[in-house]
């Protein structure tokens, strides 16, 4: 089935593959930038235990690792919640706290996601990693600065999940690749998530199952 991948996507994959060896070109101009800066309404940061100011979005090369680290923590946080999504209803749980600290002070987006996971748990749907060994693994593929303190970027996530009922029976197995457009904001020098919107994975590079 995967072999039926279209020539268009294949062309992109080849393009990505052909470019994999020239990381020494660090031209920030390769990232799309917008000319109009939008002010964010973020008023407070969640816990920030570091005094180090993370790079501005306009320095794409420097900020990308910070955003990747943010997404790595995101992957871990949601994997912990999805193990038993009922935990999402407990705001004091470690799992929920780990998730919420990834977001800005305005966390209605995160609250909505937690409510969604709570419903999953109530429906008796529990997630565990599929044959790939990890539920999801996100890669930041493109960073677009909106201002120094706001960036939009695309993540491509390789997923491998099994969903069980409350008796432990596997009722679904899903895998493949998804993508999201993510907006992050820098508050008090630290990058946080604002929202994540599912996007087409067409532009994502093809990933091998084993990395």
């Amino acid at each position: 089935m995967r072999r039926a991948i279209s020539g268009l996507a294949l062309a992109v994959l080849l393009l990505v593959g052909a470019c994999s060896g020239d990381d020494d070109s660090a031209d920030p101009g390769t990232s799309t930038s917008t000319t109009s800066s939008t002010s964010t309404s973020v008023t407070s940061s969640t816990t920030s235990s570091t005094s180090t100011t993370q790079p501005p979005a306009t320095d794409v090369e420097a900020v990308t690792p910070a955003l990747q680290e943010l997404m790595d923590r995101y992957d871990s946080a949601i994997a912990a919640i999805l193990t038993d999504p009922r935990v999402a209803s407990n705001p004091d749980s470690d799992e929920v706290q780990a998730y919420l600290t990834l977001f800005t002070g305005s966390i209605s987006f995160a609250d909505g996601a937690l409510a969604s996971w709570t419903r999953e748990g109530e429906a008796g749907r529990f997630y565990r990693p599929g044959p790939r060994g990890e539920l999801t693994n996100s890669t930041v593929t493109e960073v677009t600065p909106t201002s120094e303190d706001e960036a939009s970027f695309t993540v491509c996530a390789v997923n491998s999940m099994e969903i069980t009922d409350s008796a432990g029976n596997v009722i679904e197995s899903v895998g493949g690749q998804t993508a999201a457009t993510v907006v992050a904001v820098r508050v008090d020098g630290v990058w946080h998530l604002r929202d994540l919107t599912e996007a087409s994975a067409t532009g994502c590079p093809e990933r091998e199952s084993e990395e």
Binding site: G124, M161, S166, E198, T202
Partner: protein, 289 residues
């Protein structure tokens, strides 16, 4: 590398309508539907270049809608799909439905899944698991008290103190609602050679000191009582008979379609070992002298 990546993405973005990052600063409004990964798949006010409304994932413009489409089992022709898509093989002997996430832009599917079809039995099984996980271990009160020897031919009474009665739980999915009921049935097994399990009514029987004679209470219909006949601790016998009180939860389900069925029962057992002694006594009015 980044230059090429950006160029590649931009090319594809131009061709298939990848989200315009310039819209990132727009107010995101309120997300009304999330994917399992916590991505918003439906905003109350669609963003320019935003996600598909009510799509179910995968699209990137208002014109692109993605949905799971049932496909023939792809593993028959190409077992590598399990590897390619990081999907586990389905359980043996379980019918599943294969689906691919297909989008209206015609892009090749990047997601594959199989699901166990939604049936009342499947939903009931899920609810059963939830109920079973919450079933309590029976806590026992007995007369004479646990740890106190009973007397030959004098009835022992057993009751469950944390009796819940029937437990019900429901779940609705895909327009189908199923209610599962677990009804407890108490059985007292004396453990004495030659004895039969005693089927008890309700939560069992508490001996009423001021009630009818003990023999009468023990003989009542459904009484959870048994008079041991063999003393313990003599040669060839244990220090106590391995009595038990078991609550068996009989589980059944009914669906909103009118269908119904049963599910495997679950038993919770508490040990109530009983030593028995023999006394030469005259029994008067239900009390030992």
């Amino acid at each position: 590398m980044r230059a090429c990546l950006a160029a590649g993405v931009l090319i594809v973005g131009a061709l298939v309508g990848l989200a315009n990052p310039a819209g990132a600063s727009a107010s995101p409004g309120q997300c009304v539907e999330y994917s399992p990964l916590g991505y918003c798949i439906d905003w109350d006010v669609p963003l320019p270049g935003g996600p598909p409304a009510g799509g179910g994932g995968g699209g990137s413009t208002d014109d692109i809608v993605c949905s799971w489409v049932t496909i023939p089992d792809p593993s028959g022709d190409d077992p590598s799909v399990f590897y390619d898509f990081n999907v586990a093989p389905p359980p043996a002997d379980v019918p599943v439905v294969w689906q691919a996430l297909e989008c209206s832009d015609g892009a090749p599917s990047t997601n594959l899944r199989w699901i166990v079809p939604l049936t009342p039995e499947n939903i009931a099984s899920s609810v059963r698991g939830r109920i079973v996980g919450a079933l309590p271990q029976p806590m026992i009160n007995s007369s004479p008290p646990i740890g106190t020897a009973s007397i030959v031919d004098v009835a022992v009474f057993v009751e469950v103190t944390n009796w819940t009665g029937a437990i019900t739980d429901s779940e609705c999915a895909g327009g189908l609602c199923v209610t599962v009921a677990a009804r407890p049935v108490l059985t007292f097994t004396p453990g004495e050679p030659g004895s039969n399990p005693v089927s008890c009514a309700g939560s069992g029987t508490r001996y009423e000191q001021d009630g009818p004679p003990i023999e009468e209470q023990a003989a009542a219909d459904g009484a959870c009582a048994y008079a041991y006949r063999l003393r313990t601790g003599t040669e060839g016998r244990p220090v106590s008979w391995p009595g038990t009180a078991s609550v068996t939860w009989v589980i059944s389900w009914t669906a909103s379609t009118g269908a119904s069925g049963s599910l495997p029962a679950v038993t919770r057992t508490t040990q109530i070992p009983r030593s028995v002694r023999e006394v030469q006594a005259v029994v008067v009015g239900g009390e030992t002298a």
